[in-house]
């Protein structure tokens, strides 16, 4: 029996702990300074908005940990002595904690870009539980305006949070469109329209230059963009991305680049030290994957994989077909496979959008073979297994179009869009036209929609 110490209680660390417990009798200790228990980071926004309380975003009841002999230790780690195999805590009175195997799952930290004034009170990112607590006090109801910087997922989340308390929001996006480095133009425009529909003052091509204090000099008062415009706002949200939370590991024997360098077994350069999740950087990422992938799902998949290795079966990280999801205000977004913002010459695309402009489906395919390579769905739910299977089996676009009903995952009685999508496809690709198969819903049969 070995003592496995996991540093970080996010989805990566906790998945590792749970699966190690399933597979072995090793002693497990999870260390985190952030919170005592595992919580769903993706749900932090709902606490501020009053949808849930902290207890609701904990995926396991508190008794779960003792029952499964997973020891929890709430403390911040200052440094790691890889020679002696010990963790040293920030609180000097705490004894060091020894380990046989160390798993680094330290997650991310918001990245700021050396803006003047970024350290002022009222300026913050949103990643940790502590960030949420700060936002509760920094942006109460009645705040005159919130300026959010960053056109990604956290930016739109912060905008939605502030609006829930009737705080007007200006959202500054450096690029020419929302999440333009990830979303293709049409989806980006669709989401942008929706963000504006909610009353957000959304500005493209607007870059933050400087954050200025208010009259008291004690907290933020306004921001200035690179074009010289000044926007008053006693709250500034910085949502300009995250980077691996590895600063305290730099300068040690552990090899760190942007993140902790790992091979496909999630092993670092040091024996008995592993890393996974947001903080890990793959030396040889799987095909089509980025070296650092800050996604809930990949953190979980790495955790499942690493537990195998720790329990004696050395297992490489082999994520399946890529998938991810998000929600922009009221519009859900799912993506499967590869749907880059800009197409390469070999890839074709089929895009359908509902006339009301809140629902869309995109399917990418290889021009030569017709094999589908990726799906984007906005305001439409698709069945994960079906989309992944089509991509894996390189089903052709016309096959997918015929069998589109199989991917339907919207609730019962929802308007079925397959006929409209199929009609759009026939118009765009007359040569490949073939009829939509599968059983029509009763609504289609009786009311023809």
């Amino acid at each position: 029996m070995k003592h496995i110490v996991i540093l970080g209680n996010g989805i990566g660390g906790i998945t590792t702990a749970r699966h190690v417990r399933k597979l072995s009798q090793h002693r497990i200790t999870v260390v985190s300074g952030e919170t005592e228990h595992f919580f769903s980071r993706t749900a932090l926004m709902y606490l501020y908005m009053g949808h849930m309380k902290y207890e609701h975003i904990k995926p396991y009841e508190d008794f779960f940990w003792a029952k499964n002999r997973i020891e929890l230790r709430q403390a911040w780690v200052k440094s790691i002595d890889f020679e002696k195999k010990e963790l040293h805590f920030a609180q000097s009175t705490s004894e060091p904690l020894g380990y046989d195997i160390l798993v680094l799952a330290t997650g991310s930290t918001p990245s700021y870009f050396e803006w003047p004034g970024q350290e002022l009170p009222g300026v913050q990112g949103l990643y940790s539980y502590q960030d949420l607590e700060r936002m509760e006090t920094a942006a109460p109801r009645g705040t005159s305006r919130g300026v959010v910087v960053g056109g990604g997922l956290i930016g739109v989340e912060m905008a939605e949070m502030l609006l829930s308390r009737d705080i007007p929001v200006t959202l500054l996006v450096r690029e020419k469109s929302y999440w333009g480095n990830v979303l293709p133009r049409e989806e980006s425009e669709l989401v942008s329209r929706h963000i504006r529909e909610h009353g957000v003052d959304l500005r493209f091509g607007a870059e933050l230059a400087e954050i200025k204090p208010d009259a008291s000099g004690q907290r933020v008062g306004s921001i200035k963009t690179t074009s010289g415009e000044e926007i008053a706002g006693p709250f500034v949200g910085l949502a300009t991305g995250v980077r691996p939370n590895v600063d305290f590991l730099r300068g040690t024997s552990l090899e760190v680049d942007r993140g902790i360098l790992v091979n496909k077994y999630l092993e670092t350069n040091l024996p008995d030290v592993y890393a996974l999740g947001d903080c890990a950087q793959h030396r040889e990422p799987p095909a089509g994957r980025k070296p650092v992938e800050q996604i809930w799902y990949t953190g979980r998949i790495m955790g499942e994989t690493l537990a195998r290795t720790l329990c004696g079966t050395r297992t490489p990280y082999t994520p399946g077909v890529f998938y991810n999801s998000a929600k922009f205000f009221d519009i859900e977004y799912q993506t499967y496979g590869q749907v880059p913002a800009r197409l390469d010459a070999d890839t074709g695309t089929f895009y359908w959008e509902h006339p009301e402009g809140r629902i869309a489906l995109r399917i990418n395919f290889e021009k030569e073979t017709g094999a589908v390579t990726g799906f984007n769905a906005c305001g439409l739910r698709l069945r994960h297994e079906v989309c992944a299977r089509w991509i894996e089996q390189q089903s052709t676009l016309s096959h997918v179009m015929q069998h589109l009903r199989e991917a339907h995952f919207d609730p019962e009685f929802f308007r079925r869009h397959e006929p409209a999508i199929a009609a759009a496809f026939r118009a765009a690709h007359p040569a490949q036209a073939s009829s939509l198969q599968g059983k029509r819903s009763w609504r289609e049969r009786w009311f023809s929609f």
Partner: protein
């Protein structure tokens, strides 16, 4: 939009306060003629002397009147009991009909005016409060549910719970004090059935009103979801027609009062002798009602639940479910999701089912043999114990009174014998399940939080397992609130339900060991 809502709230509160205020209004004068009219002749002889001091005296509220009547009535019965004159003890409830007959004053003279000043204002105010929500964009709107005192067990929620509990205690045990409220709906009752309004008519009216008005709120809140809209429309329809209007019209036509969608064992007195006798003395229609009721319980329930799960009844048709899904919607998040609560739920709800079945068996034994006693057990006392503890206290006082404390499905989850029965079908032999979409769950907890039945939906979703649970009423809110489209209510081959978590979650290509 905000100011309109505030005005609406103000008007609603005005109507509500006026409504509560009417309880203290009116004059109550007992006369000999009223006693003769309302009491059975043998009881008239017994009660007349004790009620003598009340006759001709005018009371300024139903409270003094009711108290004096009950005191006199109680004294007579106490004397009978003390003298062991068991045959003379009076079990009839006279306080309510006598108080109703003795009432006079503005509520009887200007009933319609007061109806509009109370119910009318409350409805108008509620709609003004609800309708401006149409200006919000369609989508999940659960903002500030845990910031509001009303919906997070704050002082407002606690006060509402106390009000509801007091209301139910009054309704079941002291209707004579609520007599003024029945006067307000008396014209409606007379129009529908030709009879004066009883406390049960009053209850049916308020119940239906709550479902319809809060149903409108539900229709607006979930107007992005056809599933939620259809389901809400369905419970509004069944309550208004099947539960409220049709039974009253049947009475107007001299037919038995019958709710065609109420099913044994929720309808626990279906097999009581008085009910069977009523049905059997009503010709073809009565026999049809008897056969219909039996067919619903023993044929429709298993078949429809096999095809669609529990939801076809619990969240589309049932009256208790209808109230829970409309009036109770703002409280769904207060249900306890702990493992401990689930354990208590299973013991409790199945015990009530056993109790209901045993009681019905005893009642039928008595019906067919004419013997009240089975060994030491008296079937009449068993049914009265059930009626008091389960029928009145559990389903009414606790079932609805506890909305602001334990969520909107306390009765359905912990007490309803029909829910327990359908739940067994759903759990073991049904096409219904809530499908988890591959590996898409982000464990956010919205599904579990907003599950009114206290199911920890996330526990299933995050391990890639379908939700197959006896208690799930199929309201579909978990699917609605899921921000990633992970959950879907589906019907398919029962064997395709994923009831064991996959060893490796979908999305990970690592090989399986087993």
């Amino acid at each position: 939009m905000r100011s309109l809502k505030k005005i609406g709230l103000g008007i609603f509160l005005l109507g509500f306060v006026a409504w509560v205020g009417t309880l203290t209004m009116g004059q109550f004068t007992l006369t000999d003629a009223i006693l003769k009219q309302e009491l059975k002749p043998e009881h008239y002889e017994l009660l007349r002397p004790a009620l003598e001091p009340m006759i001709g005296r005018t009371y300024a509220s139903p409270f003094g009147f009711g108290r004096d009547f009950n005191t006199a009535f109680g004294r007579i019965n106490d004397d009978f009991k003390a003298n062991q004159q068991w045959d003379s003890v009076i079990y009839d409830n006279y306080a309510f009909p006598v108080a109703r007959a003795a009432s006079a004053g503005v509520l009887t003279e200007s009933t319609l005016l007061w109806f509009w000043l109370t119910f009318g204002l409350a409805i108008l105010g509620a709609l003004l409060y609800i309708l401006p929500n149409l200006r919000q964009l369609p989508g999940i709107k659960n903002d500030h549910i845990y910031h509001r005192s009303m919906t997070s067990r704050g002082w407002l929620g606690i006060s509402l719970g106390v009000f509801l509990i007091v209301f139910y205690v009054g309704l079941y045990f002291y209707p004579e004090y609520l007599v003024n409220w029945t006067l307000l709906v008396d014209p409606l009752s007379r129009a529908l059935s030709g009879n004066p309004a009883s406390q049960w008519f009053l209850y049916g009216f308020i119940y239906t009103l709550a479902i319809v008005v809060m149903g409108v709120r539900m229709l607006i809140k979930y107007r992005h979801s056809p599933y939620q809209m259809l389901r809400t429309g369905s419970v509004m329809f069944f309550q208004t027609s099947f539960a409220f209007i049709i039974p009253e019209v049947l009475v107007a036509l001299n037919r038995p009062y019958y709710d065609f969608k109420n099913i044994w064992p929720l309808d626990y007195d279906f097999f009581f002798d008085w009910h069977l006798n009523t049905l059997l003395s009503n010709g073809t229609l009565g026999v049809f009602m008897l056969v219909w009721g039996i067919a619903l319980a023993f044929i429709a329930v298993p078949i429809l639940s096999y095809f669609y799960g529990k939801r076809w009844y619990c969240s589309w048709v049932c009256g208790c479910g209808g109230l829970a899904e409309t009036l109770g919607d703002p409280y769904r998040q207060l249900s306890d999701k702990s493992l401990k609560a689930w354990k208590i739920e299973r013991y409790l709800v199945h015990s009530v089912l056993v109790f209901a079945v045993v009681m019905t068996a005893l009642v039928l034994y008595t019906y067919f043999t004419g013997q009240a006693k089975i060994g030491p057990v008296d079937s009449y006392s068993v049914r009265s114990v059930y009626g008091f503890w389960i029928g009145a206290l559990f389903s009414g006082v606790v079932g609805t009174g506890f909305y602001p404390y334990m969520g909107n499905r306390v009765w359905c989850r912990f007490g309803c014998p029909l829910a327990a029965y359908i739940g067994l079908v759903q759990r073991f032999k049904s096409r219904f399940r809530i499908t988890t979409n591959g590996g898409q769950c982000i464990s956010c907890g919205n599904c579990s939080t907003y599950c009114e039945m206290g199911i920890d939906v996330r526990w299933y979703a995050q391990r890639g397992q379908d939700v197959v649970r006896a208690s799930c009423v199929g309201c579909g809110i978990c699917s609605s609130v899921c921000p990633r489209g992970v959950l879907n209510l589906e019907n398919a081959d029962p064997d395709s339900r994923v009831t064991v978590a996959p060893e490796v979650l979908f999305g990970n290509d690592m090989p399986k060991i087993k």
